[in-house]
């Protein structure tokens, strides 16, 4: 993320394609995507709904293998999920049988990253307070709103402190204020710990504000339509979003994305 970060390549999608079998024959969801993410880099993926972003993330997480091509992490083929890659799922996956605090503590009780009780309690407290969930720590998720569940999932993912974060629309359910607080929190965490992030989002503004690079994905099947470098140095602050440079870049990415949304829409109407 910082200018002097080593340009070591971490995640690499090499010419990958992905087909899913469907009733109407194989559906190509990803088409020959190549993309790599270097250590400490923040890369956002934007593209129309259903274009295959989550599928790409699932490959990086290790849940699915591409039909063709290879996905590697630090030069090794990804064999499965692991605690080195923290995943924030689009559907949160908050554990309904655990209270809010137990959800956050879950990862810290596992062998892979077990912490002594005292340290665990501190970590849990820290993230629950940052996520403004402290008052709800004894509640079960069924009593939480959508945005609260999303923040809970974030707290749980941050708590185990993975150095590679895969985040699938992690702020989608939040109101504008909370969302911007979450942006700053994420930037803080990253600034302090030098993590690598792959973020999927529908918000161009969010992508440009947070990332080193924004990757525009085409309508299905996914291809890399364009890769936009974001030149603003870190640490970034909200004031950035008011500058003409920021808005110019945002507008040009927006334009690229809108073209793909239109293409997806056309595709959908011809399919139906």
């Amino acid at each position: 993320m910082s200018a002097n970060a080593p340009a070591l390549e971490r995640l690499r999608f090499e010419n990958i394609s992905m087909q899913f079998p469907t009733d109407r024959g194989p559906l190509e969801v990803v088409h020959e995507v190549s993309l790599s993410i270097r250590a400490g880099e923040f890369v956002s993926l934007v593209g129309p709904s259903g274009c295959g972003k989550t599928t790409l993330m699932n490959m990086a997480a290790g849940f699915v293998k591409p039909t063709r091509g290879s996905v590697t992490l630090d030069g090794k083929a990804i064999a499965g999920p692991g605690p080195d890659r923290g995943v924030m799922f689009q559907e949160y996956g908050v554990f309904p049988w655990l209270t809010v605090e137990e959800n956050v503590a879950f990862g810290l009780r596992l062998k892979a990253n077990r912490k002594p009780a005292k340290e665990r309690a501190e970590i849990v407290e820290r993230y629950l307070k940052l996520m403004r969930l402290w008052d709800f720590r004894k509640a079960y998720p069924k009593t939480l709103s959508g945005g609260m569940r999303q923040r809970l999932a974030l707290a749980r993912a941050y708590a185990v402190n993975p150095d590679f974060l895969l985040m699938d629309e992690p702020f989608g359910a939040l109101d504008a204020q909370t969302r911007s607080a979450m942006h700053d929190l994420l930037l803080d965490i990253l600034g302090a710990e030098g993590k690598t992030v792959m973020l999927i989002t529908h918000s161009v503004e969010e992508a440009v504000y947070l990332s080193n690079r924004v990757v525009v994905i085409s309508a299905r099947p996914s291809r890399v339509r364009s890769v936009v470098e974001v030149p603003f140095p870190y640490p970034r602050h909200h004031a950035l979003q008011e500058t003409p440079e920021f808005n110019e870049l945002r507008a040009s990415v927006h334009e690229l994305v809108m073209r793909e949304y239109a293409a997806q829409e056309a595709q959908r109407t011809t399919e139906d």
């Binding site: 849940f63 996956g93 049988w97 596992l110 062998k111 749980r156």
Partner: protein, 260 residues
Amino acid sequence: MVRNSASRYAASIGLTIAPFATLVILWWLLRLTGLINPGLLPSPLQVARTFWSTLTGGELLINIAMSVVRVLGGLLLGTAAAVPVGFLIGWYRPVGRLLDPLINFFRALPPIALIPLVIVYLGIGEIAKIAILFYASFFAAVIVMYEGMAAISPIYVRVARTLGATDFEIFARVMVPLTVPHMLVALRVALGVCWATLVAAELVAAQQGLGAMIQNASAFFDLNTIYLGIICIGALALLMDTILRRLTTRIVGWQEKIER
């Protein structure tokens, strides 16, 4: 506050009792109208008297105890076996697919149909009754377990894996808590099947138990005792089901909606 909750408690008890009280009143009225030959329909009071005399005489308690012990024995053995089996075939989908038709066959087969066979093989002792109840509760519970497991969303396992959980941790910390609600439903379903089967088994072959009590009374055309036996069976089944339901609310109150 205290008063409020106390009066709410009283109201809820009242609401539970009212329908039964109405039923007894209707029964009593039906008898008063004389529409049904009084010789064929005992009055609630007569049944209550029979209740009291058999209770103080001790034989009612023995019959109840026999039936309850049999039901609980068969139920616990059957579900204890069903939980791990349901787990296995729910977890290893191919095994499930292979066993599915068999399990459905045995589940669809009413356990009562097996009573004559069991009598031939095991006689009419306690073993025979426990065996038939085991059969009944096992198949009822196993199917609930494994259908419940099949419906579990894979997202939780995925989340746990990305947090670094081992296979064993996933089993102990994700699968087990997620199956507890299904175990409780399995227990309730099996309980219902068990009562139905038990009474049938006791009607055919038993010296003691509520089913036997009814059967013996019918030989003497003792309608009071027959009614008493029926009411006892209903009340006990309802009581056990209520206890299980309370337990369910207590244990799996975290669920979005609780099956009632």
